[in-house]
Symmetry: C2
Subunit: 273 residues, 2 copies
């Protein structure tokens, strides 16, 4: 049982505070109770947060760890002075030295994700998600040339979650296209992809792992059999090698690592932040 | 033209460094050139990074801003001593005080997203993404009861990107189900949803915005007409009110804000970090 509580306090969604806090906590082998306090954007809510944090400290008999990303200094002050926790304040720690270096004042803008719905960047991210969904699994060749990235590989090699991650995190129009037995017989890339060579990136996977994944979907099928998986992977890798397509193995990689590697290799021109 | 460069240096994917750096930089009205240096995990690569950062500083005639999440202290030392930039080091700033407070040493574990592909948490996140895709737009009633969250609303009210975000960010099995004219005529929720009431959350949207979005897809259709959008939104809101379903308007909200609000309201039991 965890006997220490961690709070993520933000005046926005708290997503930055969580990412930041979890990255720090990943450096410790410790099991903690985690509590999110998003939208803490008024003095009233700050006092509520203080009560909740103090209460956890009393129950745990240990001061809670409190990660904050608060642009409102009044709210921060209430929490810093009242909560009796260990404060890990992201903003003042880094914003103040940056103000000095840049020679401008911070705007105390609350919530990196608020108002963003109106921004062009946000709209293009949503458009990218829709595009990636419509171009999942070779569903549509329409507009394929509008893709920033096209992932290819055998069924269940990790193309779909990676495409969606690229769209959601980086606003990239990421299509994906399966390599199927027909392509192997033809000994050539799917015709729709021939003119898109520069945007292609291959995903491969160990046949043993692929067979496991496919067996969860279609137990004891030919599709999932190790023999068939070995064959498909061998053919797909041979084709990618022949066509000079960059590829990586997803077997032990997370979608974050796969996506980062793809970006490093392809360096798509349009990269929104 | 931006005349100052920002670097995100990490021994892993750099996703935490980017999230952290962008949140800090969002506090300033300034346009910067951004460069990612992921997988900087050896002394050699650290020296390469130093060369690149120093070079940018010379071109800009201003010291680059360098956000780092480096668990490897040797790599950090090379960069800190050599790069001649403004170092914003996330880990040592917060990890050292935490070591003291927790009474344990940090593990200097590199890359929050590496090795994660084998973890149960990661596998369940991928399973959630697949589940959400299979249960997009009411495609399948199979296993609907396994959902953690079921979003309802008229077509193009924001259900799909929000479901995928909930799956990707929080590992939640988020289904979504469209409310269609048949449901309005029947004056009742789709039958498949009747037993899932506790997991339902509604999304609505201003008819004017909805009409804009639909017109991009099917210009000048009845589907996209303002009259039809007004009718559908009115009927959907009436149905959600009648059925006691919590809902919010997505018109000016980002998927991050929508997702955070849903979590606050529904508080699904299974929340993976």
């Amino acid at each position: 049982m965890p006997n220490r509580t961690v709070f993520f306090v933000s005046d926005g969604t708290g997503i930055t505070a969580e990412t930041f806090g979890n990255a720090i906590l990943a450096q410790f082998e410790i099991n903690l109770q985690k509590v999110r306090l998003p939208f803490t954007d008024s003095i009233d809510k700050a006092h509520q947060a203080v009560r909740q944090i103090k209460h956890a400290g009393i129950i745990d008999n240990k001061p809670p760890i409190v990660f904050t990303t608060l642009a409102n200094e009044e709210v921060l002050k209430v929490i810093a002075q009242g909560c009796q926790g260990i404060l890990m304040d992201m903003f003042s720690t880094f914003v103040h030295p940056l103000e000095k270096e840049l020679g401008i004042k911070s705007n105390h803008h609350i919530g990196r994700f608020s108002d963003s719905s109106k921004s062009e960047e946000y709209q293009s991210r949503i458009a990218a998600i829709n595009f990636s969904l419509e171009h999942d699994d070779g569903q549509s060749n329409r507009d394929l040339s509008a893709s920033d990235v096209i992932l290819i590989g055998v069924s269940r090699s990790g193309k779909t979650p990676t495409s969606l991650y690229l769209a959601m995190q980086y606003g990239l129009k990421a299509s994906n296209y399966p390599l199927i037995p027909e392509d192997f017989e033809r000994l050539d890339l799917p015709p729709a992809l021939k003119s898109q060579q520069k945007k292609l990136f291959g995903l491969t996977i160990q046949p043993e792992r692929l067979s496991e994944i496919r067996n969860e979907r279609r137990p004891n099928s030919k599709y999932a059999s190790l023999t068939n998986c070995r064959h498909e992977v061998k053919e797909a890798e041979a084709m990618m090698r022949r066509s000079g397509i960059r590829w990586l193995s997803t077997t032990t990689k997370s979608i974050e690592e796969i996506a980062t590697t793809i970006l490093q290799e392809l360096r798509p021109e349009r990269l929104t932040y």
